[in-house]
Symmetry: C2
Subunit: 317 residues, 2 copies
Amino acid sequence: MNKICNLFNIKYPIIQGGMVWCSGWKLASAVSNAGGLGLIGAGSMHPETLEKHIIKTKETTSKPFGVNVPLMYPEVDKIMEIIVRHEVPIVFTSAGNPKKWTGWLKQKGIKVAHVVSSSVFAEKCEAAGIDAIVAEGFEAGGHNGREETTTLALIPSVRKITGLPLLAAGGIATGEAMLATMILGADGVQIGSAFAISEESSAHPNFKKLITQIGEGETKLTLKKLAPSRIVKNQFFEQVSEAENLGKTAKDLLLLAGKGRTKKGIFEGDIENGAMGIGQVSAQITEVIPVAEIMQNLISEYNSAKDEIEIDERYAF
Amino acid sequence: MNKICNLFNIKYPIIQGGMVWCSGWKLASAVSNAGGLGLIGAGSMHPETLEKHIIKTKETTSKPFGVNVPLMYPEVDKIMEIIVRHEVPIVFTSAGNPKKWTGWLKQKGIKVAHVVSSSVFAEKCEAAGIDAIVAEGFEAGGHNGREETTTLALIPSVRKITGLPLLAAGGIATGEAMLATMILGADGVQIGSAFAISEESSAHPNFKKLITQIGEGETKLTLKKLAPSRIVKNQFFEQVSEAENLGKTAKDLLLLAGKGRTKKGIFEGDIENGAMGIGQVSAQITEVIPVAEIMQNLISEYNSAKDEIEIDERYAF
């Protein structure tokens, strides 16, 4: 049996990334109901908001679901208490040291996955007793690793150092890409961008529309002196780039960026002044469709791609 | 039949990138003799040197081979004249407009491929009458595109806009990665890094040794204000990075870099002061082995990966 399906008790090894400002109960329960694993994104929620979303998710799906918790979050203690109290079965952690919470969560019977951008961090996950690793490449949207290793280069290296269930993330919006990353050693995938602009995402319609329109090369990894983040090349991006070209310091850039840029972009729909985090695969996404359709497409593309290997003459030489 | 094998009359759809300072007759004929397509890298050769290498390649293989010509090369007219005079059957062009030479070369009966880093350039290839496209992602070594699109994100987009034979490049050093990129839509692969440090490569032993030792995150795309290039993070890289952080201009950076850095690094073996162009897959390459062994490994890994899809339970859900 597929290790990811087995670990999380789900039908398909497809995890929906717990993206800020996109991933409320509506998205999470839709993904879980469609046979994947939906994640509520705690990173953009006050603890009381998260609690409401957990309750609502439980009301709208009987399937397993999880919460994504960025470990740098200021109220992480409260978040974890809520997760345990409401018996959330699965937690994905990111942006921090997996040592701190994994043992405690596992004692409560919670499965824990952690997101990494390098093999070195994957090794730390092993040591911390993590149940599954998400290895996310340079092409992914939003916060990203400093080493800029792409999914194609990253997955084989992470697979080499760990036998843990492994999810590939970054650059995956089709069943073909899903199969491709599994051939590289992943047991399944975490998908962000495609779900970020699904009908059930809580992102602003302006954000969703923009993402369906942008093409190749219209996102870029920026703000490398602060925390590297892949965003759409809009007015805000151009301001930051200009400052970076002039050699502005991290402090200057922090002043320029200010606070709440991601909320402004993704949730409030200010497509020029917001930070619009999205992956390179946005170029492949051209419509806003429901989660159930995204999942169906992924599975049928995956199956066709598998079948084609047997019959398409380009594979035989 | 596989389109790349058919087009170039080769056994395996594996092209050896025509890398500067690595790709002389020894490497090219070894790859062609092993069933792939060897390319002489004209980018680091005077015309008379290229001529010698073409003659020597013809003496050492009866199989098809080609020459890679960067179109920005100052003596490209002379290079093309030599190629035609010696009846080289295949030319790969890069770094320039494919319109200029493709028609002329094809009139002489030469097959022409062109290297691109975006779908927009792939469309220009179609219009120029190119026979095959190489789409090269961000993870590739040496000169690289400005849009930073990774192989995983690039190949499906290029496949979507063209039916031409398509080679994936960047991030491929194993048969698994070869199969993965073919699932994304490629008909075959162009491989650089693995051949750059093969026994038959003309790179300096210091370069080869360094590449076998470096790990993940030890290359980076740099010199973005000039021509973006992925190189090893050595002393030269650190000097450039420091200047870039301070906001130095393209002119300042050109002065700092000077001329001949790539020759100094790859050919002369000055691993601290040279520009050591290599891809992110260098992390996966740990030994200097002969081309024949690299080719055997690629094919056996490719076949195993294909077979595993049928039998490994992680693929079935």
